[in-house]
């Protein structure tokens, strides 16, 4: 169908009115440019937010005690639920699908009062009592020294792993923090490690403001007994934490003597579910990108239809002549179709190319780490490019169809009569 003759025919015809061809092509060029850019930007946003979200293992949840809303077994309603360290053992025993069970206790935090001092310097940091495997849930880079270990837990050592910003706040520039002592709420801890959040994009600051100390030390030093602030639970990859959630809550209710129907006593935050929601949000954004871009492209396509209709009208006589010379209706139709296809495809591919250029410049400007919060490396993958190409082919066919049919509706005799 596509031979050299056809090509020269098509190019001749398109060349006959170059400026108009150019303007028409611009409509499609613009449409596909915006379509691809929208998808790329959505992609960038998705990547940015996922990176921000993604440090903590995604198949995880946090769970903590709240107040009971129902009396149960002689216990009143409104009772404060306090999770205990033996709940961890119960969960480990009854929910083998859980990969990591981290009991945690926290102190201080965002906008808290100054709680840490070293020599004449003080600072407000969040202090967290943790088990060594917590680092598997929230990956971090240890830049000096080490993280917590089980001997720290067993011996209740007064040691601390501190964040990058804690170093900045409590130490002079160039001072080596490992081996030094800091005072948390009046208790001395030796710094054994420094960490920074792994490839973080967003909440870097918050994370780097944390001090990790062994869970057992925390309980003893700050009088928590066998209390647990909350649990950070991560399931094995093959099991969804969301599916495990009802069982976990049930176990905790039994453990803590809570009415089985009490919905409020145990609070939780399901990261997997939240992550799913965000993924869903971006799926919708992508869809919106397709729809908006597609609609803009549609107006470009309508431009092509319009011009092709005018072309057909202008060339009615030429078409009549061609048919008198032996062009079959199919000859005429396919020529119009191919003209619009070529026009659409060339301008569309040009649009994709320019969009890729713009994306490249954007990435270049943003740098590898992404200077803008919640936004990282916008990109179009091969799928998007192929989908755009598919849309173009369909658009080109669509754009040519009506004019092509129109072209053959006129009888050759009527076409010839037009002066």
């Amino acid at each position: 169908m596509f031979n050299k003759e056809r090509w020269s025919e098509i190019l001749e015809a398109l060349n006959a009115n170059r400026f108009r061809t150019l303007l028409t092509a611009f409509g499609v060029f613009w449409g596909i440019l915006i379509l691809v850019l929208l998808l790329a930007l959505t992609n960038g946003l998705r990547k940015g937010v996922s990176a921000d979200f993604g440090n903590f293992a995604s198949n995880s949840m946090f769970i903590w005690g709240q107040s009971t809303s129902k009396p149960y077994k002689g216990l009143p309603k409104g009772r404060r639920v306090q999770l205990k360290i033996d709940d961890a053992a119960a969960l480990r025993e009854q929910v083998p699908e859980l990969k990591i069970i981290s009991p945690r206790n926290q102190l201080g935090g965002y906008q808290g009062a100054n709680n840490v001092t070293r020599k004449e310097k003080t600072g407000a940091f969040s202090v967290s009592g943790d088990y060594p495997e917590f680092i598997e849930q929230e990956p971090m880079d240890i830049t000096a020294g080490r993280f917590l270990s089980y001997s720290d837990i067993e011996e209740k050592r007064k040691i601390a792993v501190i964040g990058k910003d804690v170093v900045k706040g409590l130490f002079d520039y160039g001072e080596e923090p490992v081996g030094e002592y800091i005072e948390i709420n009046g208790v001395n801890f030796m710094v054994v490690g420094v960490f920074q959040a792994a490839n973080s994009n967003g909440n870097e600051e918050e994370e780097a403001n944390t001090i990790f100390i062994p869970f057992t030390t925390f309980s003893q030093a700050f009088n928590r007994g066998d209390n647990v602030g909350f649990f950070a639970l991560t399931a094995f990859d093959e099991t969804s934490i969301t599916e495990l959630k009802p069982r976990i809550i049930e176990i905790l209710k039994t453990q803590r003597t809570i009415h089985p129907d009490d919905e409020r006593a145990v609070g939780n935050f399901d990261r997997a579910e939240a992550f799913g929601r965000i993924t869903g949000l971006f799926d919708i954004l992508t869809l919106v990108g397709y729809i908006v871009g597609g609609l803009i492209l549609l107006s470009g396509v309508i431009g092509i239809i319009n011009i092709m209709l005018i072309v057909v009208k202008e060339r009615t006589k030429e078409i009549g002549v061609r048919r008198a010379l032996g062009a079959s209706p199919w000859n005429v139709r396919s020529q119009i179709l191919q003209e619009s296809m070529v026009l659409t495809l060339i301008s569309g591919m040009f649009g994709i190319a320019v969009a890729s250029g713009v994306i490249w410049v954007m990435n270049y400007a943003l740098g590898p780490s992404g200077a803008v919060e919640n936004f990282a490396n916008p990109s179009v993958n091969v799928t998007v490019a192929l989908v755009a190409l598919g849309i173009l082919i369909v658009a080109g066919l669509l754009a040519g169809l009506i004019p092509a049919v129109k072209a053959t509706q006129i009888k050759p005799i009527d076409a010839l009569r037009i002066e």
Partner: protein, 233 residues
């Protein structure tokens, strides 16, 4: 070559029906040069359109070189036109963005002839009409007479059985008209059957037979002594 019997054609003009051809019986033998004359509205163009398979008769039969032309769909009509007929129009109808050579080779393109062969053939016919050196010029760079010569070359390119010329000299001055007629006579002398629609008596005189149409009927069909156009030039 052409056999027409009892041909009727009417056009629907709003609520009125316009009976244009009212029973035409007409035949043309191979090698004839026939002019169809008549005032405007006599039906001569309609007759030519039907002969050219651009239009279809309501009634009657049309036989072209032993092939009954009836109930053609557009595809077959296009094939027949391409194979059997060459058209020459009053307003030349060259494709303005194609050069003379490409215009001439168009019927061959629709026959599916290969490019090199097409160019050779088209060049041959351009030589025949004396325009070889204008082959790569666009129609806009040619004079009226030259355009019509290109159109004639194009009509000849597919080596059709019959040439149909609709007022071929209508847009030309007298001198150029005679030059074009001389060319047409030359082609006829080589054995090609040619039908010329005209309303100019001097042009009709240059054919071998004059058919007079009035109000959709043939009122006169006479063989004449051909005036050679070369005597006028």
């Amino acid at each position: 070559m052409i056999e027409i019997q009892n041909l009727h054609k009417s056009y629907q003009m709003g609520s009125n029906s316009l009976h244009v051809l009212k029973g035409i019986d007409f035949s043309v033998k191979e090698g004839e040069l026939v002019s169809i004359m008549g005032s405007s509205g006599s039906g001569k163009s309609t007759l030519l359109n039907i002969l050219g398979m651009l239009d279809e008769a309501d009634e009657g039969s049309y036989d072209l070189d032993g092939v009954l032309i009836k109930n053609l769909n557009e595809k077959i009509a296009a094939q027949y036109r391409n194979k059997f007929l060459g058209f020459i129009f009053q307003s030349f109808n060259l494709i303005n963005y194609k050069n003379a050579l490409d215009n001439v080779s168009m019927p061959l393109y629709y026959q599916g002839v290969k490019r090199s062969e097409r160019t050779d053939k088209a060049m041959h016919y351009l030589e025949k009409v004396g325009l070889a050196q204008w082959a790569h010029h666009l129609p806009s760079e040619l004079s009226g007479g030259q355009k019509q010569r290109v159109a004639i070359a194009r009509a000849l390119a597919s080596d059709p059985k019959v040439l149909l010329a609709d007022e071929p000299t209508g847009a030309l001055d007298t001198k150029t008209s005679y030059e074009v007629m001389e060319l047409i006579q030359g082609i006829n002398d080589e054995g090609k059957t040619i039908l010329v629609v005209t309303h100019e008596p001097d042009i009709a005189e240059m054919t071998k037979r004059i058919v007079n149409l009035k109000d959709g009927r043939i009122i006169d069909d006479t063989l004449v002594n051909q005036v050679k156009a070369s005597t006028h030039v």
